[in-house]
Point group: C2
Chain length 451, copies 2
């Protein structure tokens, strides 16, 4: 009989930013991990020997914190990063993104694009994302293969879409996806993603929400992203997009509202009353000229607000460190008040509040006993993090994605010293580069024909 060490993994010699309720910061922390969960977390007793473990990681004085939670992605769009920028929304979408999706997106494309996005996200400290796209079964398979924790939502739209040529089958496809995924082991939770109130009929919204309720799944939807969406909704339905969703019966505590830029006080009150949550995607909203979501008012009303990168075509990165810095600063700029969205608030949004917004806060988003061991270690021995007066300030205002050295998801070491262990990064870069060259050639050919 072989001797089994007490723990699978042990992390020590770092400052733990726990993001628990009290926001405890533990100097010289000791995190003990067994069976994918945090068995214990506390300060190291210098008088005692370290407990036995299969693997011991020395954090070298760095920061140990919960892995970041990206509450809004379309991971397959990583292959469209930088294909078209600085354009009016309608030209960007109709002349570039939609045609590229129609021409290129297939199961093979989706798999490599998901791995490319997972590689970028993991190397930037993201351990959970909440996704919505088409061929989401392939996306979910790719998440599982990589080891990324994810909520994966099959896209629902009342138009022909990649993998769903007949929109009459959009709900059935999403239900089949969700039933299949829900029975599988792995790191992925199924979800349904209705594209928006203006691309899904009221009937589609109601039927999709009914499936989500029946299967106890998160229902995601883009809403109130642009002023023109608000105007169109007011003209067609004589009410705001959020109030229209409520009237349609899809606004409850298992609904994630993505964007929520053009929401008024009544909308905010309604979101809070219904217990719905919000994904704030500042870089995407800025880049597309959509505007600035009233995040401080949403938080004051008690709404759970997470932070998302959105897809790579409208950002163009999957970097939550940048997104945290911008979230903290943007709302200070527009309110003129440097005290709003302080560092701890923003860290909560990017971890535990984000996890709560997508229904995973029992599992992830903070370093506490019993939770999944989803955590990252940052190397602080760098000029831009020296000196360090407060680790929470550095996380939001100074740290970079490249400071992440180690990433653990569910107790499994995904990144070690900036190497992805679960997949072959060079193979992913090669395949992604090849797909990119095909997209570029095709896109050049089409603009030559048009020109």
């Amino acid at each position: 009989m072989t001797h089994r060490p007490k723990y699978d993994l042990l992390i020590h010699n770092g400052t733990a930013v726990t993001v628990n309720k009290a926001f405890d910061i533990l100097g010289n922390a000791l995190v003990c991990i067994r069976d994918g969960r945090i068995a214990s977390i506390g300060e190291t007793d210098p008088a005692k020997k370290l407990p036995e473990a299969d693997t011991v990681i020395d954090a070298h004085g760095g920061i140990i914190m919960p892995g970041l939670v990206n509450t809004h992605t379309h991971v397959p769009m990583s292959l469209f990063r930088g294909l078209a920028d600085d354009l009016p929304l309608s030209i960007w979408l109709n002349d570039h993104i939609f045609p590229a999706e129609a021409r290129h997106v297939d199961p093979e494309f989706v798999r490599w694009a998901t791995w490319l996005a997972c590689t970028e996200m993991a190397l930037g400290g993201i351990t959970t994302c909440c996704d919505g796209y088409f061929y989401e079964e392939q996306v979910a398979d790719a998440f599982n293969r990589f080891g990324m924790r994810a909520v994966a939502g099959q896209g629902i739209i009342d138009f022909p879409a990649p993998g769903v040529a007949d929109p009459a089958k959009n709900i059935a496809t999403a239900r089949a996806f969700a039933e299949k995924i829900s029975g599988q082991p792995g790191t992925v939770t199924a979800s349904l993603f209705c594209h928006s109130p203006y691309t899904c009929s009221a009937g589609t919204l109601r039927r999709a929400k009914a499936v989500a309720n029946e299967l106890s799944l998160l229902f995601q939807i883009h809403v109130a992203e642009t002023e023109s969406e608000l105007k169109q909704c007011l003209a067609e339905h004589q009410t705001s997009p959020v109030q229209y969703l409520d009237r349609t019966g899809v606004l409850d505590d298992r609904t994630l509202l993505v964007h929520a830029v053009w929401v008024g006080d009544e909308d905010i009150e309604l979101i809070a009353d219904r217990g719905a949550s919000v994904s704030h995607n500042p870089e995407s909203n800025m880049k597309l000229g959509a505007g600035v979501a009233p995040v401080n008012r949403l938080l004051k009303a008690g709404v759970k607000v997470g932070i998302g990168t959105d897809g790579c075509a409208s950002n163009n990165n999957l970097d939550l460190f940048r997104e945290m810095g911008i979230t903290a600063k943007l709302h200070k700029a527009v309110s003129g008040d440097p005290t709003v969205l302080d560092a701890q608030t923003v860290i909560r949004m990017a971890t535990i509040e984000g996890a709560s917004a997508i229904g995973l806060d029992d599992l992830t988003g903070s370093l506490e006993s019993g939770k999944a061991a989803d955590l990252i270690i940052m190397d602080t021995r760098q000029p831009h993090l020296t000196p360090m007066y407060r680790p929470d300030s550095h996380i939001v205002y100074a740290a970079k994605a490249s400071d992440v050295k180690t990433v653990v998801i569910g107790g499994r070491i995904i990144v070690k010293n900036r190497d992805v262990l679960t997949m072959d990064t060079s193979e992913i870069l090669r395949a992604a580069g090849q797909l990119g060259r095909e997209i570029k050639t095709c896109s050049a050919r089409i603009s030559n024909q048009e020109g």
Copy 2:
């Protein structure tokens, strides 16, 4: 007699984003460097052998571009990074920054802090900065020792300041500094930095500008940063801060206006008429809740606008890649127009326009024959830069400071494969860490006494 190779340094096998007038992007570029200058730049002729050179750098398919120009810094403040955040401006300044400066800033502090900032800046692709602080002679020495190109401005303020206990000597100190620096070899150009129209009297402004004119130096000044400054100026002088500066006679084509957030159409017209330039510091303005400068209107009026990080206490990083991304996105967000400040405009601001704003555009800011060899090489073989449809898009919207692998200033290799060659980084981190611990202890002791 030893044979001398044709060139000192040769860089090949990369895509050169030249930022020349035509914004030429050269595939498979060849940059030949001799005596600190770019002797030639063009596309590699695959039929020919590479020219002889002492040192040959293979860019491995990456991006070669001009080093970034940071148009506003207070480099010694790198040691105050994260000391106090998320506070009202007056409390942040009067209760934290000013007392910390009074207690800690001395020549030794300034030297280590400058080296810390140079290390961060160089590793993030910045090859030139425009600084203003006290003990600027030590700052300038440290810039020279490191090899950073800089415009160094001795601070002028009508209060006792570090190294200038008697404000009556502020101009004389600045003149002595400028005369000393101007006679020295190295990478530093002298300048005068008047703190602001509300901390320098009209007499001080006039006398400082007279010295700057006499010695042909850049005159820098913080102006129109906050709404309260605007209101105070209107109340005291019955005119806006910019018009007050013009009335005082200090607004001309060798004046750098730092911030210029609260400027109206008349101010913008005046800045353009006088040929003055502007340093836009978006992250600092956002973090302090100062507001958003009307950059698009300044650019339309023909004003030269560079991008600055400001000091580390109000940012909290010296990362121009982040600053470029935010500049491109912020003005889209506030205008609601995703076409403003496109990628090429923002790259120009962070390179040639910034160089022009601080009077160094004959020397740096673009890759052109005859200019100083101030350039960086970025490694694009990374998930967040794959695929690459357009290098200009990636530089602004996807690249990170950590993608910079090689940095050359005046033909001298400062950073090679992310190692600083000109100084000992670990010694700088050790000294900065020690100074940080002293500041922290002191700051904790004082708040205990007060509490």
